[in-house]
Amino acid sequence: MNKESILRNIGSLPNSTYVFVVITLVCAAGIPNFASANNISTLLQQSCILTLLSVAMALSIITKGIDLSVGGVVSFAGIIMALLMSSGAGEGLAILIGFIAAMVFGFLNGFIIVKLKVAPFIATFGMMGIAQGVANLLSNKRAIYLTDQAGLIKLRLIPFLRHNLLEIDLGGGQILGINMIVVITAAVLVLLLLLYKKTVLSAYMYALGNNAETAKLSNINVDFWNIFVYMLTGLLAGIASLLMLLRLNSAQPTAGDGLEFQAVVAAVLGGNPLSGGKGSLPGAIMGALTVFVVRNGLTLVGANSNFIMIILGVVLVLGMIMNDVASRGFKAKGACKQ
C-alpha cells in the first residue's frame, strides 16, 4: 500500500471521524477513568438517544430539509407508549403503537412540507409545539411511571430491555457491559445504513437535496420520497423515545425538550451542511459521539458546569474548523491522485 492510497482511504472516512478520534485521544490521555471499561459502557449507553436523533436529522438535512419536531416526538411517543402499557395493553403492542404514532407525526410533517408547500424549518418548528402540547395534554403534565410492583400489570419486555445483554469482567471492578439500549441502537443503525447504501434511497435523497426539479424530470416520485424520509425520521424519533423510556423507566412529558437543537448540532458537526444535497450518516453518528465524549470527559474532570458550557461551545467551533481543514487537506490529496 503506497502513501497515496492510504491517504485516499483516510480521505473516504467522514471528516468528523478525525474530530472524534482526536478528541477521544485527548480525553483518554488527560482524564483518569475516561478510558476505563465502566466509563465506556456508560458513555455508549448515554449517547444512544442523541445518535439516533442525529442520524434522523441527517436524513432530513440531506434532502434539503430539517426536522425540528424530533424532540417533541420523543416526548409524545414515550407518553403514548407508557399510557398504553399502564392501561394494560401488551408491551409489544404499546411500543408498536408508539412507533406508528411517531410515524404519523412524520407523515404530517412530510404532508405539510410537500403538499401545503411550507418550508421544512417552519413546518417542523410548528409541529414541535404541537407535539409538546399533545404530550402534556395526554399525560396531564405528569410523569408516568412503569412499575411492576405497585401496579397490577406485569411488565416483562421492558425490564428485559433495560438489562445488560453482555457483561465482560475485566478484573479490578472493571466490567464492560453492553446494554440492550446499545444493542437496539446498533441494530437500528445497521439496518438503516444497509437500507441507505444498498437501495435506491440514498441516490434519491441526494437527488432531492441537490435539485428537486431535476429529480422530478428524471421520473423520481419526489413527493412520495420526501414524505417517506420524514416518516423515517419520525420512526427513528419513536425508537429514540423507546430508549428514553428504558433509561428513565418512566415517560416524561418534557423528556425531549431541547434534543432537536442538539441533534442538529451533532449532525452538522458530523459533516451534514444545512444547505442539503450532501452529507453522511456515519458522520452524523460520529458527531453525536463527539458531543458525548466531550460532555462525559468534562464531567469526569469535575469541571464547574458553567465551564462545561463554555468549553462545549469552543469544542464545537474547533470541531467545525477541523472538519473544514480535513476536508480541504486529506480530500484534496486523495482526489487529485484519482
Binding site: G126, G129, G133, V265, P273, F307, M309, G313, L316
Partner: protein, 347 residues
C-alpha cells in the same frame, strides 16, 4: 371605467401583500367575539406594549435570517451584555442612561462580531456557530455574576421600558411603544432604502449572483451579525429595565420567540425575504394570542400546540395569497395586452 378596473386590481394586489395583517385581524376578531372584554383600550395598549419588546428581538433575528443564516444566541447575548454592565445599571451607581445604553449595545455588537467571523472566515454554518455562542455567552454570564442577581435598576433607565407618556381614555401610550415604533421605522427605512440594506437582501436571495456582481458578501454577512448583536444588546437593556433585574437567566428561550416572531411575520429561512413591518405584525400576533389565551383561560398545556398550529396556518395562508397575487398579476397583464390589441384594431 378602465381606471376603476386598475384601482380594483391594485387594491387586490395590496390585499395579497398584507397576508400577515389579515391573520392579525382574524385572530383579533376571534378573541374580540369569544373573549371577556378583550377589545377595551387598556388591553389593546397592554398588547401593543408587550409586542414592542418582542418586535425588537424579532428584528434582531430577521436581519440574520435575511442573509440566509440564523441567530440562536440572541437570548444569551442579551443576558451577557446586560450582566456585564449590571453593576452600573443599579440605582446606586447613578450612571447616565446614554452611557450605559451605548456600552450595553456595543457589548452586544462585540458578540455579533464573533458570530460574524465564525460564519464567514471560519466557514462554520450559522446554526452551529450561534449555538456555540449561545452556550459560551450563557456560561460566561453565570461565571461573571457568580451567585446573585442585580436588582433595583436605575429609575432613569427603567423609564424607557415602563414610562407612560399620556393616556387617551384607558389607552396608555407608553415609552416602549414609542421607542419600538421609532426603532422599527428607522430599521425599515434603513433596510429597504439604504445601499447596505439592499445588499443584505440581495446576498440572502442569491449569494452567488451577489458575489459575481461585486458585492462583498462576507462583509455583508458579518455586518448583519453585528447588527443583530447590537439589537440584542438594545433588547437586553429594555428587558432588564422592564423586569427591574439583571440576571444571567434572562431570555433562556428567547431564540424560540425570536424565530416564531420572524416566521409568522413572513420571513423565509433560506434568506432574502421578509420585512420589518411583517415582524412587527408577527410580534403583535403573538402578543394577541398570549393575551387572548390568558383572557379565555385556555388550558396551559394547549398554548404551545396552538402556537404551533398558528405558525403553520399563517405560512400556508401567506403562500396561498402570494400564489393568488401572481395569478392576479398574470391575468391583469393578459387583460391589458388584450385591450391593447383591441385598441389597435379599432384604429
Amino acid at each position: 371605467m378602465k381606471n376603476s378596473f386598475v384601482v380594483k386590481d391594485s387594491i387586490k394586489t395590496a390585499a395579497y401583500n398584507l397576508s400577515t395583517l389579515w391573520i392579525l385581524l382574524a385572530i383579533t376578531v376571534f378573541f374580540g367575539i369569544f373573549g371577556n372584554n378583550f377589545l377595551k383600550g387598556g388591553n389593546i395598549s397592554n398588547i401593543i406594549n408587550q409586542a414592542g419588546f418582542l418586535a425588537i428581538i424579532g428584528v434582531s433575528q430577521l436581519v440574520v435570517i435575511l442573509t440566509g443564516g440564523i441567530n440562536l444566541s440572541i437570548g444569551s447575548c442579551m443576558a451577557l451584555s446586560t450582566v456585564l454592565l449590571g453593576p452600573l445599571m443599579l440605582a446606586k451607581a447613578e450612571m447616565p442612561f446614554a452611557l450605559i445604553f451605548v456600552m450595553v449595545v456595543v457589548c452586544g455588537g462585540l458578540i455579533g462580531i464573533i458570530n460574524g467571523f465564525m460564519v464567514t472566515l471560519l466557514n462554520i454554518p450559522a446554526f452551529l456557530a450561534t449555538f456555540a455562542t449561545m452556550y459560551v455567552a450563557r456560561g460566561a454570564a453565570w461565571l461573571y455574576i457568580g451567585k446573585g442577581v442585580y436588582y433595583g435598576i436605575n429609575e432613569n433607565i427603567r423609564f424607557f421600558a415602563t414610562g407612560v407618556l399620556f393616556r387617551i381614555g384607558t389607552f396608555r401610550v407608553t415609552m416602549p411603544m414609542v421607542l419600538a415604533a421609532v426603532f422599527l421605522a428607522g430599521m425599515a427605512f434603513f433596510i429597504t432604502k439604504s445601499n447596505i440594506g439592499r445588499k443584505i437582501y440581495f446576498t440572502g436571495s442569491n449569494p452567488e449572483a451577489a458575489r459575481f456582481s461585486g458585492i462583498p458578501t462576507q462583509r455583508i454577512v458579518i455586518f448583519a451579525h453585528i447588527l443583530s448583536g447590537l439589537i440584542s444588546g438594545f433588547a437586553g437593556i429594555m428587558y432588564v429595565a422592564r423586569i427591574n433585574a439583571a440576571d444571567a437567566n434572562l431570555g433562556v428561550t428567547y431564540h424560540f420567540d425570536a424565530i416564531s416572531v420572524a416566521l409568522i411575520g413572513g420571513a423565509i429561512m433560506s434568506g432574502g425575504s421578509g420585512s420589518i413591518w411583517g415582524v412587527a405584525a408577527g410580534a403583535v400576533i403573538i402578543s394577541v394570542i398570549q393575551s387572548g389565551m390568558n383572557n379565555m383561560q385556555v388550558p396551559t398545556e394547549l398554548q404551545t400546540a396552538f402556537l404551533g398550529v398558528l405558525i403553520i396556518v399563517a405560512v400556508c395562508f401567506n403562500t396561498f395569497l402570494q400564489k393568488k397575487k401572481i395569478q392576479n398579476t398574470e391575468r391583469h397583464i393578459t387583460d391589458l395586452a388584450g385591450k391593447t390589441v383591441k385598441g389597435g384594431a379599432q384604429a
